[in-house]
């Protein structure tokens, strides 16, 4: 254990959605208060969309040396993070996670709060897809 905690970035088309999911995940996670959970929602002017600038700033702010799990909602959020990663405009330790946004965020924050490493945080968020509701 390095003592550092994996960070979590939540990218949504909507600033309100990103901020609320961050609040929900931290609130449900118990130990989540120790995790750097950073929302990157909407455009810099507050409109709906995906902002590369806000994403890059959130990832930098969530990074404490243990890596960052980046969860995204859909469409341009997915493509923007992929394009930024491909061109090395995000730290190497940032990982795009293939997970449902809300459930994946809760799983990631809980797991990160328990001190798990990046691979375990990513795996926990991805596993959220397997939880069936009906």
């Amino acid at each position: 254990m390095s003592g550092q905690t994996v960070g979590v970035v939540l990218v949504s088309h909507s600033a309100a959605v990103a901020a609320s999911v961050a609040e929900l995940a931290v609130g449900l996670s118990g130990g989540g208060a120790a995790v750097a959970v950073r929302p990157a929602g909407g455009m810099p002017d507050g409109g709906l969309g995906t902002s590369a600038e806000l994403i890059a700033a959130a990832v930098r702010s969530a990074e404490s040396g243990a890596g960052v799990a980046v969860l995204v909602d859909l469409g341009s959020a997915v493509l923007t993070v992929k394009a930024l990663l491909e061109d090395g405009e995000l730290p190497d330790s940032a990982r795009l996670v293939d997970a449902p946004f809300v459930e994946g965020a809760v799983a990631a924050v809980v797991t990160a709060g328990a001190g798990a490493d990046l691979a375990a945080v990513v795996a926990a968020a991805e596993e959220a897809y397997t939880y069936r509701k009906v």
Binding site: M43, G49, A52, S76, L79, K82
Partner: protein
Amino acid sequence: MNASATPDAGPPAGPSGPVIDAAFVRRWLSAATNAVDREADRLTELDSAIGDADHGANLRRGFTAASAAVDKAPPDTPGGVLFLVGRQLISTVGGASGPLYGTLLRTAGKELGDGATAAPQELSAALRAGVEGVGRLGGAAPGDKTMLDALIPAVDALASALESGAGLVPALAAARIAANEGAQATVPLQARKGRASYLGPRSVGHQDPGATSAALLVSALCQVAEATDEESAA
């Protein structure tokens, strides 16, 4: 052919057409920015039928920002200009077209490397690499009703015209026709990528906004090649 007599007429035309240098790509950027600005309402209207009604405004914001960035610190190679425009689109568009067109141009720019000029075949290969990058990023296939349905026919037409010995101007004219036909051919298709795919069969009957803007960008490239050619021949 006395281009040297008129210093303001742009670079001289070579045997295969206009010289592709940084200024050529900047003229394309300017033509593309104008076209996007002029057609923004139509793109948004197409996007309001099957998307989220922001394609025109998003591209206008992206190309305006890209033009400003290039004006502020103009790269001196064609690859450098393409790369910078691509980066700007990724950071400013705000919709899926940003990372998609951004990847296209950034990949093409990288492919061109740091030569001061590019041969038509090099431009053609670079654009193909860019279009393949779009396919990888978005995961769309031909026929999914996306920008690829205009872009793939365009780069195919450009490459095959050059291969058969055509100069840059007629080759780009063939690419423009192929892109426009490809965009029109998206009308009967059902969308399988992006927000429009949620509409299922209801996406049929509408021209894809991304394929439409792709055709505009190809058309701007052809227009600039034609204008450059005429000026230097004048």
